[in-house]
């Protein structure tokens, strides 16, 4: 981190803003106490995280498309509450707006969890093959550049692949991968999602799936109630509405909601279909794109060959676990996991 070159520690409200509320490890100011937390002290090259609320949440420093996604999600819900809620409560059932609101709340919570939580980032520099005090030893042993195949419980011939990441200096477990955008190795890396501005990996895949499902469900619910509202004149007698044109001019909000929801739901619904197909085989997006599409002989060894088991593991069973690098711990300047070490050649 570069601490600003100022003569004395900054006043509390200044460091509260830059060190705690929105902390970019590159722009941390000098603390009153002189001590830092792990999230404030990440020195690796090309690190793109900004930490919020004392290191508890994170965002990646790229175009903030996640803000746009959150706005669309909230905006359509507001449209529903303003134009549809009262009408559906009175004319259809009070359950409808309640269920919609509940679904929306869950979707928002899943979005926040998927977008701001740790996807399962592995700590760096834990498998150094050489002594860091010897400056000439920056080459790794040749063995560390091979992809190692190890026997797997249900497949002793193709097995699983273990690779050494020369940027993070760690032997990655199978299915872990180095994300170029976040510049970190993520366990069970699925993909880097620009719409939530975070990687999707072991620890937040479940939340990502439920977010996409919830967003599709909310969208479908909004469309259906909007359409019922707009076409209600056909099923029940209303004083002044006898044509479709009159209906949408009486209820412009509902019609607007239908059109906007239709537009907004297209992408999440497609993503949902893709991920349902992937989770039915217990396959990550990365494995599908890198191996399955290009190599007919490649076998997905992690497929449990049982539809319910595959779906269960990904949608419900996967434990959130714990983070590996505790960001809110006190920073130890000797902690090699947070130091900058040149990639191995």
């Amino acid at each position: 981190m570069c601490t600003k070159q100022i003569a004395e520690p900054a006043p509390w409200f200044y460091w509260f803003l830059t060190n705690w509320l929105v902390a970019d490890p590159k722009y941390i100011v000098l603390n009153q106490s002189g001590s830092y937390k792990n999230y404030q002290a990440q020195k690796q090259e090309g690190l793109k995280f900004v930490y919020l609320v004392g290191g508890r949440l994170r965002v990646v420093k790229t175009l903030p498309i996640n803000v746009f996604v959150a706005s669309v999600l909230t905006g359509l819900a507001v449209l529903f509450w303003v134009f549809e809620a009262r009408w559906t409560w009175n004319h259809l059932s009070p359950a409808l707006p309640i269920v919609f609101s509940y679904l929306w709340l869950i979707t928002l919570a899943m979005f926040i969890k998927a977008a701001t939580s740790d996807p399962g980032i592995l700590p760096r520099n834990v498998h150094m093959p050489y002594d860091l005090r010897l400056p000439t030893n920056t080459t790794a042993p040749d063995e560390y550049f091979n992809a190692i195949s190890l026997p797997y419980l249900h497949d002793k011939f193709q097995g699983v692949t273990v690779k050494y990441c020369s940027t993070c200096h760690i032997w990655r477990p199978p299915r872990a991968s180095h994300c170029g955008v976040c510049n970190a190795c993520v366990v069970n890396h699925d993909h880097h999602c620009i719409y939530i501005n975070n990687c999707v990996g072991l620890r937040n895949y479940k939340y990502f799936l439920w977010f996409v499902l919830g967003a599709s469900a909310c969208g479908i619910m909004a469309i259906i109630t909007g359409l019922i509202h707009v076409f209600h004149y056909k099923t029940a007698a209303e004083f002044s509405i006898h044509t479709f044109g009159q209906s949408i001019s009486s209820y412009p909000g509902s019609f607007c909601l239908v059109i906007l929801s239709l537009m907004a739901i297209v992408y999440p619904f497609l993503v949902l279909l893709v991920h349902i197909l992937l989770t039915c085989q217990n396959l990550t997006t990365r494995e599908y794109l890198n191996f399955m599409r290009s190599n007919k002989d490649w076998k997905n060894v992690f497929d449990r060959h049982n539809l319910l088991k595959n779906l269960y593991i990904n949608w419900i069973g996967r434990a959130r676990g714990t983070s590996y690098l505790r960001l809110t711990d006190q920073y130890d300047p000797e902690d090699i996991r947070l130091q900058r070490v040149a990639p191995l050649e």
Binding site: I106, M128, E143, P151
Partner: protein, 226 residues
């Protein structure tokens, strides 16, 4: 300089049909450029196997860094379902894995040469074989594996119910009961078990696996070079 460590199964000209993969400790590697322990050992004909590593958990250059090394027990993927979700460490005898470099009569670590601040042998046997009985080490690793399985197994009832409740309460459940979640409670038990092992043994010290993301089980030992 190092020579690639080639497990037998990837030499295609020796195969007539596909051979099953064999496990070995992928952290180790061969080194040809070393100071031999005696004149009779010829570096040109016999490589040494690096089986212990710098102690990255100690401050660089400190006394602890110079006088201790780390022996790494790798992760294994052929013992439980879902090894990508449940970390499990190898319970095979360390240094005698199927594709390890072995001398059949050898039961104790013998120094063959020194390089890069530590001493190594000519086989995959680690210095840990001199400090703890293999059966006891296997017992410790098995207990650690059991704790990890209890914590991370996706099929357990507690895990499933917590997941469902967490989704239904819009993640409020996991925010309120953060420290008492099933996985965290079992990982705390694992933490306590490893602390207990470290208190009852003084020849080695097991590093908490959470520190390296459960990618290997690191054990701190005294530097065989002194």
């Amino acid at each position: 300089m190092s020579v690639p460590h080639q497990p037998p199964e990837i030499q295609p000209h020796l195969q007539s049909e596909p051979q099953p993969l064999q496990f070995f400790n992928y952290h180790e590697y061969l080194v040809n450029d070393y100071v031999p322990v005696s004149q009779s050992v010829n570096p040109k004909h016999q490589a040494i196997v690096v089986t212990n590593f710098p102690n990255i958990y100690a401050a660089l250059g400190s006394t602890m860094y110079k006088h201790t090394r780390i022996v790494r027990i790798p992760r294994t993927f052929d013992t439980v379902d879902n090894p990508d979700l449940v970390p499990q460490f190898s319970t095979l005898e360390l240094g005698k894995e199927p594709a390890a470099i072995i001398k059949h009569e050898e039961t104790h670590f013998e120094v063959a040469g020194s390089a890069n601040g530590s001493a190594f042998g000519a086989t995959s046997l680690t210095v840990l074989s001199n400090l703890v009985a293999p059966a006891e080490l296997v017992d410790i690793v098995s207990t650690i594996n059991t704790h990890l399985y209890a914590a991370f197994d996706p099929y357990g009832y507690a895990n499933a119910i917590e997941s469902v409740v967490d989704i239904l309460t819009a993640t409020l459940y996991s925010k309120v009961f953060n420290g008492r979640l099933h996985t965290k409670r079992h990982l705390q038990k694992l933490h306590a078990y490893i602390d207990h092992v470290n208190e009852t043994h003084d020849t080695f010290h097991v590093i908490q696996p959470r520190l390296n993301g459960y990618s290997s089980l690191d054990i701190r030992v005294a530097n065989p070079l002194g």
